[in-house]
Symmetry: C2
């Protein structure tokens, strides 16, 4: 096989292109059309959220979609501009730019490029597991916090005033001090846009009951953004509202993006590194969760490393197009899936269609009110706020609730990056804390059986000179020394005890510190005239006891089952 | 009871003072005498190692011993100057002082004071568990590395040249470039001192066999430092070697220390904070391990929080006396224990005796050669180097070996603080990594029994439409998502499978991310026409499944035992 063809086979696209059928083409074309209709208002809105020129929202919806279509493995995922990544871009680039719009633009482009590079490197090093550091409550807290900050940051466009800030305190203060400048025409247009956005959702039930094709019902119920944009833009044009102080998108340069690299100093590249890492991780987590949820519905597989590569190249494509970071979008992906997208061709086609929009239709967006775009953003993010989850976590897992609350508070009160960092460090710390405080139970024999149960929970038999203890955790350096003391103290508290039998059924691992602590416990108990025995030791743990010589050092014996131990020592 | 007396009862000393007997007094007095004899050369040597004036070595051996005697709970621990804490002091104060001896002195005193305060605060907050962050291999690597750096740093005193540095690279380079300046008289005195130090140890066997009292044999076998000091000092005095270029201790100001606080700027206090934390943690770990080892021999108890308080106050006392940080000393403690120390009165008496030495005998130390003190340090630390342990760890636990090697390398090649930090972060990271990569086994029925075992290790029966999998780890956010994928992929790999039964006998906990992943796995499998069942779920995990509603959501059932599950679905 020629070398070029062999390389081509490595493209995930070769899998589905080889078996592409007419049915596939029909499904993909309809889905692409609907996705494009959604992409136009969303692209403009997320560019506004990211603090970028409106045309970059269109650019982020072209090449990245085409590249992901060729390299990604998910058949339905709609990559492109999204709320979270746009917010992170706005916050991080704002901190670097310090008011200079030119620096802002180049920092945002640099972040997209670098986050793409990070994802590609992660794919090469198979580092998809890094996203495991983000626990579910931390992600919930982060997303909820971001949604609130996003909604708050858009209030200025809904009210027609000027109020910036990277957290709720700054935003709240600035909004409040400019509240008397509220532009009521803008508020009216925003209200109209919100009604257009809410109406199709409210009618979703009726649409489903109507005898429409499934994809059409799905599109109509999500057609709010298109409707809002059409209604308010036509109104603005007819009544020339932009001349009465209504902020509009303004003239967008037509044509395709010119490939270029951002102009950043070495120092600025370094500043861009951490936000780029954050964009890479968050973008990937959002994208892969979505892709997996959809793949399961069709019993397909998602290859995490291929996804890293696909999303990474899409971000690099966005950067080269002079635009901001992209990821899988929840709203567009579900619409695309419901509209019957069958292969990544949907994304390819939507990307090409967006190219057409940029070439010939940019004139149509001049009079789109910014208030409409802000309303689209606000309505799409408020569904991400998960207050109930916080209450739910409070009920069944206080540490998880704490991690979520701390992340949320960090995002709301400091900024998005710090909030996430607090969440990750706190959740890891709480995990370490929990495994360092294992559940320890004295056990006794359930009469008439060979089973041993917690003496505090069950009516069981025990012997005066024999102490049976079960530890419900692997032993490692975080708990070894405190367990050593606890076991020693419990034994010393009962002077008549001559044998301590440690039931090891829940111990999956031992590390060197645990071995050292067991040796020390053995010696301390031996000095006090008490023998240490082990029971129900698992295979890998037994191997380790033999290798370290602890097996032969032990003052007592190792029993296959706890019942055998109690029988032999009784 | 009067209030003052009630406060007194809180002193641990009140316990043993109330029952103090004549026998106690005899044992304590003899032990105190021997400890004092050892304290003099060690105090001077560790002051040299810490880079402090010789008298501070005496000061660190007075008030801290008395304070620990009143507040500590260990009956045999000899608190005072020690090798590790002196090295940390030298390294950290050197970095802050940048060549200014006055700043060095005050930084070292500030560290002692602050580390004492940190320990007292830790005692008040019951934070003794913090030391659990130091795994056994990290401590071994740290101690071995420090021992090598200490020995290397003393070579300059043995050779009579000038060569400083905070790691092996700097020390090696400086030693090598000054090697031609070697002062051969100093080398000869150092060799003589080393012979005096080694001889009593070599004769320990013979001393034991001689019909001497146990305590005398113990003292004689450890009398090397006293012997080396006597022999070389007398030689120096008789031959006036100090006039031939032999470096000696020089004039020591007599009298007791004047209580004072260090003069540090706010900026310097901040710089002192991290080394003080390090001194607190390391000092406490060293001290408590020693105290516990001895307490076990007499079936006594050590109260970790009281120990924190005792050691903290001892360090504050050292700081107020104008001296450096202290901790439990291994060599003096074993001598004191063997000499029959019965109560903390030993420490109290030794502290008072050192006061007498400082008042009336400082003139005797003027001609002690520095080479002798350096030889005492080198000979006492080389036994701490644990090469064998590194090889041992390599055989039974690669992650532990890696943690030890990295700590060792960090201490040798960078500095002590960085080395420890590398070790702590790496060992926590490796622990997280391991629990995020759990052992997962497909299990089958051992014919004729109700037991299930790994299909790869045992000859077992399994059914085509039923997949039985055991996970040997608690589920948490670090492994939940990858396990979800692994379980899904394994099920999808066998299209004939209709039931996945997860055997939960080794699952001690679930966190919110694990619940989320189980829900997601349940939904993904359900979409693919496979039922998810659980078996052998532990009590606390079962409670959680009920609270989160996962129990009712599950497409399959929850079985009491795996056998019942296979029977019901078979």
């Amino acid at each position: 096989m020629p070398r070029a063809l062999r390389l081509l086979r490595w493209l995930p696209a070769s899998d589905w292109l080889a078996r592409y059928s007419k049915d596939d083409a029909t499904g993909d074309a309809i889905a692409a059309l609907i996705v494009t209709l959604l992409l136009v208002p969303q692209g403009l809105a997320y560019a506004l959220l990211a603090g970028m020129p409106p045309e970059t929202g269109l650019y982020a919806s072209m090449l990245p979609l085409i590249v992901y279509g060729l390299f990604g493995t998910s058949r339905a995922l709609s990559v492109g501009p999204a709320a979270l990544t746009s917010l992170i871009t706005a916050s991080a680039a704002g901190a670097i730019a310090a008011g200079d719009p030119e620096r802002f633009l180049h920092a945002a482009i640099g972040m997209a490029l670098l986050s793409g590079l990070i994802l590609v490197v992660m794919a090469a090093l198979r580092m998809g597991w890094l996203t495991n550091l983000l626990s579910h409550p931390v992600i919930l807290g982060f997303v909820s916090g971001c949604a609130i900050v996003i909604a708050a940051s858009q209030l200025r466009h809904l009210l027609g005033i000027d109020a910036h800030g990277e957290n709720l305190i700054q935003l709240g203060f600035n909004l409040f001090s400019h509240l008397n400048e509220t532009h009521w025409l803008t508020v009216a247009i925003a209200t109209l846009a919100i009604i257009c956005l809410v109406l199709p959702k409210k009618l979703a039930g009726a649409l489903k009951r109507a005898s429409l094709p499934h994809w059409l019902a799905a599109f109509l119920s999500k057609s709010g953004p298109v409707l809002a944009m059409l209604v308010t833009t036509v109104l603005c044009l007819l009544l020339q509202l932009d001349q009465q102080g209504l902020a509009v998108v303004g003239t967008i340069p037509g044509g395709l993006p010119q490939p270029a690299l951002p102009r950043l100093s070495q120092d600025e590249w370094q500043q861009v590194l951490m936000p780029a890492l954050l964009l890479a991780l968050i973008g990937f987590v959002e994208s892969i969760s979505l892709a997996q949820a959809l793949a399961a519905k069709r019993r397909e597989r998602i290859n995490a490393n291929r996804e890293l590569l696909g999303l990474g190249l899409a971000n690099m494509a966005s950067g080269v197009s002079g635009s901001f970071a992209v990821t899988g979008s929840f709203s567009r992906t579900t619409v695309s899936f419901d509209a019957g997208a069958r292969t990544p061709m949907t994304g390819l086609l939507a990307g090409l269609a967006m190219g057409g929009v940029a070439l010939w239709f940019t004139g149509g967006f001049t009079h789109v009110p910014q208030a409409t775009l802000a309303a689209i953003i606000v309505m799409s993010v408020i569904s991400l706020i998960e207050w109930r989850e916080l209450k739910h976590l409070w009920e069944f897992s206080r540490p998880d609730c704490l991690a979520m609350a701390a992340t949320l508070a960090g995002v709301l009160l400091i900024n998005v990056q710090t909030g996430l960092l607090i969440g990750v460090v706190l959740s890891l710390g709480l995990f370490l804390w929990r495994t360092s405080q294992p559940h320890v139970a004295e056990v006794g024999l359930v009469p008439g059986t060979h089973h041993f149960r917690n003496i505090d929970r069950h009516d069981v038999e025990r012997q005066a000179h024999l102490l049976s203890i079960r530890v419900d955790e692997s032993l490692w350096f975080g708990n070894a020394r405190s367990l050593e003391d606890l076991l020693y103290d419990r034994t010393m508290a009962r002077p008549e005890v001559r044998h301590l039998v440690l039931m090891c059924s829940a111990i999956n691992h031992l590390d060197a510190s645990a071995v050292e602590s067991l040796q020390s416990l053995n010696a301390r108990l031996d000095a006090a005239g008490v023998q240490l025995h082990l029971s129900e030791v698992k295979g890998p743990v037994m191997d380790l006891l033999k290798k370290t010589g602890l097996e032969s050092e032990l003052s007592g014996q190792i029993f296959l089952s706890h019942y055998l131990a109690v029988e032999a020592l009784g």
